[in-house]
């Protein structure tokens, strides 16, 4: 049976291959010197391989026709990474296509290049492994630009902690009040089309809460509704938010030390003055804001959402909403799991909230 996996040699068939296999082997060998120069180069067969043509830094490529640069948007889930992506996509020279989650790849590359008894941790294999990982990051991001091939800036928006993927690549990190994140996360999980998308330990909760929510979403506009009332779910997600904040606090100085451009945004500030945020974003990528389309409700680039439908991915986009959803338990759990991160991020001065 032929292997139909993409990228396997079995899926690279086509008329040329069929013609080739029809020619007897001795004749094929005799013709090879004549035919070989006419064969398409690997770059033509796999157009994303052009992304290997890096310049003097790991985040810029020169395709011969134009220069492309890579950048990253990071931040906790439900913190506005989509919002930042939508704003940037208004510019004709920017394309950002969803979440690549390169961090899972680096979880594999890490041991490969660091465990002392693995050969890939020694030179020259280590450099080859790291550079080929950078190649594949660029290739995959470049492959995502088909519908906007002229874009200069190619971005990845993955909710994750701050950290460098392509060394030196500009990065935008957005932070939102963790308590509002919890409320948004709760509704995000209540809306899942399939409870198997939830982490295994929370599926039983989903099986109970999701159908109830679908039947009557308005009943969930109250403190401790849905997942917010479950201690294990609440603590787990509060810890995740706190880890992301700590990650930013740890890594932002490293970015500065390496000279890696970093734009740190606040969801709440964007909400207050979106025009300023828009200018900052385009200035960060050295782009002319005048060339970008205006912010609109349709492109989901203005603060908040007029529909505010609890069933939609872009639910409300509000700030300070947590006060309507946190009961005493939620406050206590959050303080215990993420109180220090909330203070470190500048959202509170102490525990008296």
């Amino acid at each position: 049976m032929a292997d139909e996996r993409p990228g396997s040699s079995g899926s690279r068939g086509g008329w040329a291959r069929r013609v080739k296999s029809a020619v007897p082997a001795p004749l094929r060998r005799a013709l090879k010197p004549l035919v070989a120069p006419l064969a398409p180069s690997p770059v033509l067969r796999h157009p994303w391989m052009i992304a290997d043509r890096r310049t003097d830094n790991a985040w810029t490529i020169d395709t011969g026709e134009r220069i492309h640069k890579f950048f990253f948007i990071t931040g906790c889930y439900k913190s506005g990474t989509n919002w930042v992506m939508n704003i940037l996509n208004l510019h004709p020279e920017v394309v950002v296509k969803g979440e690549f989650h390169f961090e899972v790849l680096y979880q594999g590359v890490g041991p490969l290049t660091q465990v002392p008894w693995f050969l890939s941790s020694r030179e020259p294999a280590r450099t080859v492994a790291l550079e080929s990982t950078n190649d594949l990051v660029r290739r995959m991001m470049y492959a995502s630009t088909r519908d906007k091939p002229d874009a200069t800036w190619i971005g990845d928006r993955t909710p994750r902690g701050l950290g460098e993927v392509l060394p030196g690549a500009p990065t935008i990190n957005i932070v939102r009040d963790g308590r509002d994140v919890m409320v948004s996360w709760n509704f995000h999980h209540l809306r899942v089309p399939d409870v198997n998308r939830l982490l295994p330990q929370f599926r039983h909760l989903g099986e109970r809460e999701v159908p109830r929510y679908k039947a009557n979403p308005n009943a969930f506009k109250r403190p401790s509704a849905g997942f917010l009332g479950d201690e294990s779910w609440f603590r787990f997600h509060a810890r995740q938010w706190a880890e992301m904040v700590r990650c930013e606090i740890t890594h932002a100085p490293v970015f500065r030390e390496h000279g890696t451009p970093l734009l740190q945004l606040r969801y709440e500030k964007m909400h207050t003055d979106i025009s300023l945020a828009r200018r900052e974003l385009f200035a960060f990528l050295s782009l002319d804001p005048a060339a970008a389309a205006p912010l609109t409700r349709e492109s989901k680039t203005l603060p908040g959402f007029s529909t505010a439908g609890p069933q939609e991915f872009y639910r409300k986009g509000a700030t300070g909403e947590w006060q309507d959803y946190f009961d005493d338990n939620a406050r206590r759990w959050f303080k215990e799991e993420a109180g220090d991160a909330l203070i470190a991020a500048g959202y509170e001065e102490g525990d008296a909230w």
Binding site: P6, F100, D135
Partner: protein, 365 residues
Amino acid sequence: MVSPLRAIVSKAKKALVDAPEPKPRFAPLLPRDEPPVLGHRPGIDRTIYAPDAASEMEPPFGSERAADYTVMAEGQPRKCFFIIGHPRSGTHWLGHVVNQHPAITSFGEYRFEALRTGFDDLVRHDWHACHVEPMRSAAERAFRDSIRGILASSCVRKPEAVWLGDRTPRSLQVYLDWAPTFMIIRDPRDILVSWAHTELTNAGPDYTTGDFARDLEPLRQEFLKDKDFFKNNPHLLLGHERWAILLASKWRKHTHDDLTALKGVLAGTVRSRVYAVRYEALHADVEGERAKMYRFLGVDPAQAGPLSEQTRSKPGFSQENPYDIYRAGKVGEWRKYFTPDVKRWFKHAAGDALIEMGYEKDHSW
């Protein structure tokens, strides 16, 4: 007339003989009654696994079948190959044996499975950008380029080598289509003896994650003080029921995965060409076996250098070192370490797979 005392003793003896064997307290990783994977016993009954006779031979450079495992290094085309097997089954030794040929290099373990896991996670979830085309194809192609590139870098250590190898103890997974793969197989009871020594020397991952320190740490400390501790107390090496069952079960799981993959190779759904070599056969006739392995790669056995103790390519070691990865290199050593209890636990956890692999005919050993 039989004395009352003798009658009591005789009755007690009979009761002991008739008593059922105590049931092991720990479940194996896979259910015991699972049918043999290849549908016949023994499961490994051939040397070369390929979808058809034509693909058993190594194709020349430039052929379509060799394309995925061919790489340019230092301006010269070279080919990649793999050595795999269960940990402690002789992958190191096999690597040293094939390495004696000037056209072959295999210096150690690259552990590409770590990279493969990262790639699989990258494309697995439908909300990841790489889950869909064309990013998915770009990812797969990039993974293969990474493997080829990393292996190509190994030619600096042996520039004349045409074959660049990775020797990693792992189960059969295809990283490069049709790349030749040597799979070494060893009697799992000998594997357990060797594995237990390594785990106890290093407080290895199974020892640590299995939370065995509470029960086995005193033994480990004795062993670290006296390298002959288990030689003098062989019943203690695998004498902990959960410990023995865990190791046997893990071997069974590994073997089950390998047999399933080999079944796929024969059916043509797993794009690999596998040379299965038994540790015991290599031990008995290393010259004969290595000549066949060289031919599998299409190189001339006559050009190979001699085997020697210095290159660790000869069977066994003149000096045993219980702490070293090159410990003893012996066949059938398990007999010294397997008490009746250990045998019972092993049969419970992996006895069926032992038979399927052809090391026993039934459970009466």
